[in-house]
């Protein structure tokens, strides 16, 4: 009997053309810790099931292990926010900060969610390349641009800032 999953945490990953459902070992690091880490440009994941983005329930391929190039990722989605938040976002000064609802467009997706950031919200700082490759949104709905009936929900999403084309913001 195969023993592929090893009680790992599931997550959804989206690139420009594909949906990838897989698991990662969350015993020591959350998905946020792994993606934000600047020591590696890629991520090793297990039990990958690949679907075309416009036919998301069709499993076109599966592999016991896959490598994801962080830079080519559009966003990652988790059911529970604790699986996505970095260690410092869970336990540090991240708590008690303000929530700002934002709208983001990515290749093939439009995303609505909440940014939870400390201090005054300044998109220029948030989107600056000096502040890392990703941003984290909470209570996320991602909608496929070409088929608005296909939506994904999760408590958290980690978004590749380089893939963002527009960001809709609330009034100042």
């Amino acid at each position: 009997m195969q023993n592929r999953n090893q009680a790992r945490t599931p997550a959804e990953f989206f690139s420009q053309s594909y949906r990838l459902s897989c698991t990662f070992d969350a015993r020591h690091h959350s998905l946020g810790d792994l993606l934000y880490a600047t020591t590696s440009d890629y991520l090793m994941l297990d039990n990958a099931y690949i679907s075309p983005i416009d036919h998301p329930s069709h499993i076109s391929a599966d592999y016991p292990r896959v490598v994801i190039i962080k830079g080519s990722l559009t966003f990652a989605l988790t059911t529970y926010k604790d699986d996505a938040l970095r260690h410092d976002q869970k336990y540090g000064g991240y708590l008690g900060t303000q929530l700002t609802t934002v709208f983001i467009t990515l290749p093939h997706f439009e995303i609505t969610g909440e940014l939870r950031i400390p201090g005054r919200f300044d998109p220029r700082i948030l989107l600056s390349s000096q502040t890392g490759m990703f941003i984290t949104l909470l209570n996320v709905t991602a909608r496929l641009t070409s088929n608005q009936e296909i939506t994904y929900h999760g408590e958290a999403a980690i978004i590749n800032k380089n893939q963002i084309s527009f960001m809709g913001l609330p009034d100042r």
Binding site: M1, Q2, N3, R4, S57, D62, H153
Partner: protein
């Protein structure tokens, strides 16, 4: 004992589900670690319920469910899809594949037990077995041929039975190349029990045939109670039941019309045929909403134009099947047109009838 099969490639998940379901002492649990093995086990053991993971190597859970639903022996078993893919699109895909219920991981033990209980308690009839009698008050216009081919086409979609309710040694068995060793007459004579295996013949297409007695019997012996019993047995196990009705309007015919999902009324398109159909429509006015009219030309030569027929009958015509000389060969060979001449006019037109039947 209620037999539950769990198919999941995750060893811990198999063990956990076994522990949860093991709380019910009446459940016998089987485990399978991949889709291919799980499918084989289900087809061999015929469990009452299967819990199927989606993301498995080689054969996905969706494919397992589709194949189980396509086999008559497992078409009506309970199926729960349990997956880590927990999005709305995944739920829709699970139900479209044929699952009774969808659950996302992680599993809530009480929720799982409640759903299993609910599915096992649901009567099979809730799975909407459809009853389609094929009827005409005029004999010799090809109603049996249409019923046989219609049943074979429906069998392509899901588990189907064809019932030959002719008391005068019906012809469905010979059209299918079968010998009517088993028939409903045996139930009347008390020579068999009322199980699907002992009553029906299985055609190589998977179609189940409840044949007519080879020797004619008095019509009154086929009582309403017998018809009710036979339909209950068939509809419990099969998604579609097609009935080749005798060309009479008696108590059992009325019962079949009452219970029908839709009625395929077969008419000739010559003048005497239309006259019979016109009178039949008057007699069946109560069932007007269920009727689907099919014109079947069983003789060569000039036929009335469709617009004229439509004007006379005042009812939409689902299909007009032209005369097809080679049709007689299919009967003699025991190989109906659906199997031996799939591009023939009868098959193409019956596919149109099926689209009408399945339209909500």
């Amino acid at each position: 004992m209620t037999h539950i099969l769990i198919i999941d490639d995750n060893y811990e998940m198999l063990e956990m589900l076994k522990t949860i379901l093991g709380q019910r002492e009446t459940y016998q649990i089987s485990l399978s670690a991949n889709g291919k093995d799980g499918l084989a086990k289900a087809l061999k053991e015929h469990p009452d319920l299967a819990i199927v993971d989606v993301m498995m190597p080689e054969i996905s859970g969706y494919e397992v469910v589709r194949r189980l639903r396509a086999e008559s022996s497992t078409a009506n078993m309970g199926i729960i899809i349990l997956t880590a893919r927990g999005q709305a699109v995944d739920k829709a895909a699970a139900l479209k594949a044929g699952a009774d219920h969808y659950m996302s991981k992680p599993v809530n033990a009480q929720e799982l037990l409640d759903i299993v209980d609910k599915i096992l308690a649901a009567p099979q009839s809730q799975k909407e077995s459809a009853l389609y009698p094929v009827f005409s008050l005029r004999g010799g216009i090809g109603a049996t041929t249409l019923a046989v081919n219609l049943a074979l086409l429906l069998q392509h979609l899901n588990a189907t039975a064809l019932v030959d309710f002719s008391p005068n040694s019906g012809h469905c068995a010979s059209y299918l190349g079968l010998h009517s060793k088993q028939h409903w007459g045996q139930l009347i004579q008390g020579n068999t029990d009322s199980t699907i295996g002992s009553l029906t013949l299985k055609h190589h297409s998977g179609l189940r045939l409840l044949a007519a007695p080879p020797i004619p019997i008095p019509t009154e012996q086929l009582t309403e109670a017998t018809v009710e019993l036979l339909l209950t047995v068939l509809q419990k196990h099969l998604r579609f039941v097609v009935v080749d009705m005798p060309p009479v309007l008696n108590a059992t015919s009325i019962l079949l019309l009452e219970k029908a999902t839709r009625v395929i009324l077969v008419s000739g398109s010559d003048s005497p045929g239309l006259q019979t159909t016109l009178r039949t429509l008057q007699a069946l006015q109560k069932y007007q909403d269920k009727l689907i009219l099919v014109l079947n030309n069983v003789t060569p030569g000039h036929q009335l134009p469709l617009s004229t027929v439509q004007r006379v009958l005042h009812i939409p015509i689902a299909a007009q099947i032209p005369y097809y000389a080679k049709e007689i060969d299919t009967k003699q060979a025991g190989a109906p047109a659906v199997l031996s001449q799939p591009k023939s006019p009868i098959v193409i037109n019956l596919q149109q009838v099926i689209r009408t039947l399945l339209r909500k």
